[in-house]
Symmetry: C2
Subunit: 432 residues, 2 copies
């Protein structure tokens, strides 16, 4: 019988355990589809003696990385430990020993993707990382293969399930931010320290990966503008709704001509936008290509089993490549120079919410500022404010530059009749 | 300089012209991504002398298929003529001459896919047909690669833009069927003879392809139950809405254990279902996998440019394979035996709408029939009927077999108090 493919698995947490279970459950189908038997040869864990919910023969477990990295029987390493080190060193070491690598590690690929892919190319090895963005949604394949013929100009992604769950609860159940967060933690959707999710860092890593693959130009993590949802209030969500918008935390990557912008921020989406109805922990990535137009890819963004499907799908591809003797020949690397837009080149509509003194002439002062800065208004809504003699004003601008918006905000804050600039958000999609 | 890839294009209609334009517009990117220059060597047309909106050098145009099929300079044939013959003979001939084939032809792949793929395997050639289902959405790749690790158990697709446009107009603008159809024809969304779209045949071809790839078991066109939207009324759409459902024409492929069902029919989707908000000519395919759970792929299902992106993405893959010397090695063929479910094994909820005599005891008679057949009810709505002494009753059952439903309908029609069984639809998704 033909040689099986021997896999070294690094990490046996939620995703690692699910990989083992999926390989077991779909053994027969995977044999048909990959043409090879798949054997998990060794599993790297911190404590080999620990009791585990899944069945792994004890002789497979090890706490010594070299038993995988220097093991000549092992063809391929699956890294599902997470974090930068020692994952980075292990992967580089595996590649140096001619082992193919599959990883679910977004932190690592966002920060050290170029280094890892360059070593892989040099060594003729495959590195796949579908699982690193949007869990079970095969969106990296969509960008690199399904849409390889097109010029992608915009990617908008709900790529963090924790924050999407929180915002969905705020919208649908009128739960305030803190309550929705506590609920997410209780259900295991948010970690004890939710900072990386809530502040947008997790989403930013995915945006860097999506933009790099979508535009074929390297977008690194420090080029992604990041704003989280920590300051989003129930009132923002409600006012947005009143004007026909849904508030979502999204990653945006956009290019016009050859200049690129990338950000993570809470934005308002028109109710009819394909992303607006993506609720709870689900993820979705909206991709606009010049020829194809609007597309969207929707599914579970996290969780052991969904993420394992992406890992094992990559494994099937890697096994095909091994069988055909073409590993490392289709590594997708950037070929375009990255030029970032300045704030004068980033355009969108904006939503602003203000508390102002409620007397004659105030609206004239406000709209005067917009006129001076050259920003025109699409919608204006005025309601009584929180206190006596106070009004609340919500405005939506026409398309304007980030620079002009900042100028407007700055002038607003200096105006005595403006008690407080409560919030401002970018408005995505819809006609301009 | 390296040899370019020489392409023979068969057909220069909407899709063919867009392929030429896309190759031209994205020339530089395509060179980076495929590693080769792409040259359209010959284009088969009926009338080479005709004036055309796109620029193709006149020496490239030919009305002789052999100038492509027997042309030794040509590596690859793109077939975008449509129809069964002569497309089938041309493709088989191209394969016999060792040329790779890319086609957008759903009719052909649904009926003769097995024959074509088997000749391709024999000749070591690639055949790709991403464009044949759901235009610009890379859903065949999702099934064969992105979800290759999982056991897909259900596929529900809005895969016909014409009928989705008609149903969207009926829902959102209260347009009756005939008016919505006329509107679709005016906008070029429906053909002069809309039968294949309206009666569900077009969608059925796509379901056969999706089911075959998703389940890796051959589902042929004559195994797909087909019911179109010709008899859907505005009242059906409204009553469905009142109960929280959106009426859509979908293709359904489902398997339980190893038995398969495939159909095209108008169904009611709960408003929160990912497919429910897919409006107008857009397409979307919902895929459920045992490990990944719910995913959905959304985008333009037709149109020259979107379809061309799928054709050219296939071209890029084919060129990679040529470059690596691995053409024809990854042809996806069924490996499981097809066993169709009987009507006693096809389960779902159902919606029924009846006009009945409006007097005491009628409801008891009706619900008595459901009880006798063993069907339990989830929702009942009664409103005054169209005429005096008449009531309209809308019922939604719990999950029941197709067989039981047919029995209920049969008995209803024999009951004197039932004036008319107005309509019945399958209800998809939601809790059972």
């Amino acid at each position: 019988m033909e040689q099986p493919i021997r896999v070294g698995l690094m990490g046996l947490g939620t995703v690692g355990s699910s990989v083992v279970q999926l390989l077991e459950a779909n053994q027969e189908d995977l044999f048909h589809r990959s043409g090879k038997q798949i054997v998990v040869e060794k599993v790297l864990v911190k404590h080999p003696e620990k009791d585990r919910s899944i069945q792994v023969p004890s002789e497979c477990l090890t706490d010594q990385s070299d038993e995988i990295l220097k093991n000549e029987r092992i063809d391929l390493v699956i890294e599902v430990m997470g974090g930068i080190e020692p994952a980075r060193s292990y992967i580089l070491e595996a590649l140096k020993h001619g082992k193919h690598v599959i990883t679910a590690n977004k932190d690592l690929m966002a920060l050290h993707g170029e280094e890892i892919l360059s070593v892989a190319t040099e060594k003729g090895c495959d590195v796949f990382y579908e699982a690193s963005v949007a869990g079970g949604i095969p969106v990296l394949r969509a960008l690199t293969e399904g849409l390889s013929s097109d010029r992608v100009t915009k990617i908008v992604g709900i790529v963090n399930g924790t924050t999407n769950y929180i915002l969905s609860e705020m919208l649908n159940k009128e739960a305030p931010f803190e309550k929705a967060l506590a609920q997410a933690q209780e259900l295991g959707y948010a970690e004890a320290d939710p900072t990386a999710d809530v502040e947008g860092l997790d989403a930013a890593r995915k945006v860097a990966i999506l933009a790099t693959l979508g535009f074929r130009t390297r977008v690194s993590l420090n080029e992604v503008f990041i704003r989280g949802i920590g300051s989003v209030t129930l009132e923002d969500v409600r006012f947005a709704m009143q004007l026909g918008y849904i508030l979502k935390l999204v990653g945006i990557a956009q290019r016009d001509e050859d200049k690129v912008e990338a950000s993570v921020q809470p934005v308002l989406l028109p109710e009819a936008h394909p992303l607006a109805s993506v609720n709870g922990v689900f993820n979705a990535v909206y991709i606009y290509g010049e020829a194809v137009g609007e597309t969207m890819f929707y599914g579970p963004g996290a969780g052991g089993m969904p993420t394992a499907t992406a890992v094992v799908a990559d494994l099937v591809t890697a096994i095909h490549n091994i069988g055909m003797g073409v590993s490392g020949q289709k590594v997708v690397r950037p070929y375009q120079e990255t030029v970032l837009k300045s704030s004068k080149e980033v355009f969108s509509k904006h939503f602003l919410r203000l508390r102002v003194a409620d007397h004659a002439g105030v609206m004239a002062r406000l709209t005067g500022i917009f006129a001076e800065v050259g920003v025109s208004l699409e919608k204006v809504l005025q309601v009584p404010g929180g206190q006596d003699q106070e009004a609340e004003i919500v405005l939506v601008t026409h398309r304007t530059s980030q620079y002009q918006l900042e100028e407007v905000c700055h002038r607003m804050e200096e105006l005595p009749v403006v008690h407080r600039l409560m919030s401002h958000y970018r408005v995505e999609g819809g006609e301009d």
